[in-house]
């Protein structure tokens, strides 16, 4: 589970669990897990990131697959963990194995779970924001759209420049708040052009950034939803 989901939107976590269970998976959430190490890694604090990578590898050692409801955390494990251990002969193999069986949620569902009927229901128009790490590190673009297309009432309207960064960037969003807000502003304008009822993305960081800017600009109507929430719907 990602730190932001834990802190801000637990319902996204439970939505991810419902989707995986619907797909027939047995899901465990190791209690001792904390952070994948991405904030430290991107700040240049590589030693902490390595310590957290090994901690995570231990906690998920028994799992056949590791599924993450975030492209950036999944990208951290899949793409950046192996880089961090490239010169570490002792741990390299274990980290590589973890990386190879780690997937972003929608990517996992499309690849391995033959989901025909999704539990979610959505009536109205959606627009999808491609979060950067998922898109460029993991190639997440077609997967969420394919899954959203299975919801009968949901109509996807593409925004211009859906692949342009929303300006979140982790600590960037607070360190360079003005630039970050300006980037979010452009994203909000693109969302506004679609007239969609909801903007959907696969990373909560982007969603909080977009939601914060939308609300500040006075848009209280456009829903801001994680793709897992839309696909899983409300709990029974």
């Amino acid at each position: 589970m990602t730190c932001l989901v834990d802190l801000m939107r637990p319902r996204i976590g439970f939505a991810a669990l419902r989707l995986l269970e619907t797909a027939g998976c047995r899901v465990v959430v190791p209690d001792a897990q904390t952070c994948c190490g991405q904030p430290g890694y991107n700040a240049g604090e590589f030693d902490s990131a390595r310590a957290l990578a090994l901690k995570l590898a231990d906690e998920f050692a028994d799992c056949e697959y590791v599924v993450v409801p975030s492209g950036s955390c999944a990208g951290m494990i899949r793409v950046h963990y192996p880089t961090l251990f490239a010169h570490d002969a002792i741990h390299r193999e274990r980290v590589a194995q973890l990386a190879a069986r780690t997937y972003e949620l929608t990517d996992f569902l499309v690849r391995f779970a033959n989901v025909t009927a999704l539990p979610g229901r959505f009536e109205g128009t959606l627009t999808y924001h491609d979060a950067c790490s998922g898109l460029r590190e993991l190639g997440i673009q077609r997967q969420p759209r394919a899954l959203l297309a299975k919801l009968p009432g949901a109509k996807l309207v593409e925004m211009p420049d859906a692949t342009t960064c929303c300006g979140f960037g982790g600590t960037f969003s607070n360190k360079y708040g003005e630039i970050s807000s300006a980037m979010a502003g452009r994203k909000c304008a693109a969302i506004g052009q679609t007239g969609a009822d909801a903007v959907v993305a696969g990373d909560l960081g982007c969603l909080l950034n977009i939601e914060g800017r939308l609300r500040r600009l006075g848009d209280d109507n456009t829903k801001v939803l994680h793709v897992a929430e839309v696909l899983a719907g409300e709990p029974e």
């Binding site: 976590g13 904390t34 604090e45 960037f172």
Partner: protein
Amino acid sequence: MQITSAEFKRKASAALRDTQLQHALGRMQSHFVDKRAAAMRELPDVEALRDAATAIRARALRDLDQYLSQFERAATAAGAEVHWAETAEDANRIITEIARAQSVRKIVKSKSMVTEECALNEHLEREGFEVVETDLGEYILQLAHEPPSHIVAPVMHKNKAEIATLFEEKHRRPRLDDIAALVGEAREILRPHFLTADMGISGANFLIAETGSVMLFTNEGNGRLATTLPRVHVAIAGIEKVVPTLDDAAVLARLLPRSATGQSITNYVSVLTGTRRDGDLDGPQHMHIVLLDNGRSRLLGTSMEPMLRCIRCGACMNHCPVYQNIGGHAYGWVYPGPMGAVLTPLYAGIEKSVDLPNASTFCGACVAVCPVKIPLTDLMRELRSRQLAQGLRSSAERWGLRAWSWAAQRPNVYAWIARAAARLLRRLSGRRWLPGLSNWTGGRDVPTPEGRTFRELYRDRHPK
């Protein structure tokens, strides 16, 4: 060039409020991004070509010493004289000496970012030479006494009306408002300079090792005039610009203009080899090639070596959402955008440009378009790591990182902090300002957490 990167935040903030600049930046999408995408679609296999280009540049760097020696031998055989400059000051001194020895009075220049790195114009003017920039954009900047804000389109921060006012004032002619007329006026003023200049100075897009040639890609024709009309031609280039063969350059030529301006090829492609030969109709009597190190060789064999592959197309900044919002001047040195965020700390001082590698969301748009696949975000991250090791980041940030790292390795502590933070943020919901988050709250509301953490709820539902 004087570095002002320490003022990044202040300048970026001013840029965001500059409506004229914002209007100019708004044109980037159609001028650069869309055009590049269309030009790339003409190619049968962009990825294969990017791989080939990357391999060529990597090969040139791996045996840089040999290719540079080969280049020197070939260029010398063709009648040019090759000079080696370790620093910007060395380059300035060498060019001044050449100019003195040739009794030069007037110098025309074709666009060159390396000469910005050396602040060559200022140096030559101080030494008493008349220097005229002949690239239209650079000419405008010379009149306005401004630095370039983009490596390919140096004057992209200015609009037509500003240029019209500038020309009216500096040329002392009636104001013209039509672009073609403004270009015509600049051309009329620049033409006599080409004919009366004693020396032409150019950069080099590539140096061809096998032939000793300087290769230039230009659009205005001024580059060809500046390098062939005056009796002395001085080309100055970073040592990393060498490529083994003309065939290699041809591969890069398919990517450079497409990546830079979305053209399948520039209006002019010049391969300049040596001095005027018997029977040649034009060409300089003396050709000098100044090869500049200025920090480049220090990167060889290090994790930063991939940066030397850069062919200066500008695609990284054109596609950078940070650059698209603040423009080039905020970066505070010669090279803006993602490539500048790596080069400025390496060439001009890591301690003088702490913001640059940090002012990126790591969205990766630059990496995705780089024709020579430079891992720009990885290099910025590596520079962030060096900043930490050198104690260059704020103490708040260092302590914050230390606290985060300590807590994240202790699940109970981490869970408790998340619990407390979720409750605190919920209680504070609706506030438009929060301590420690003021840069967030300046432009965005703080989202309200649900209240309990995922971990708490999950434990409730899955009792051990």
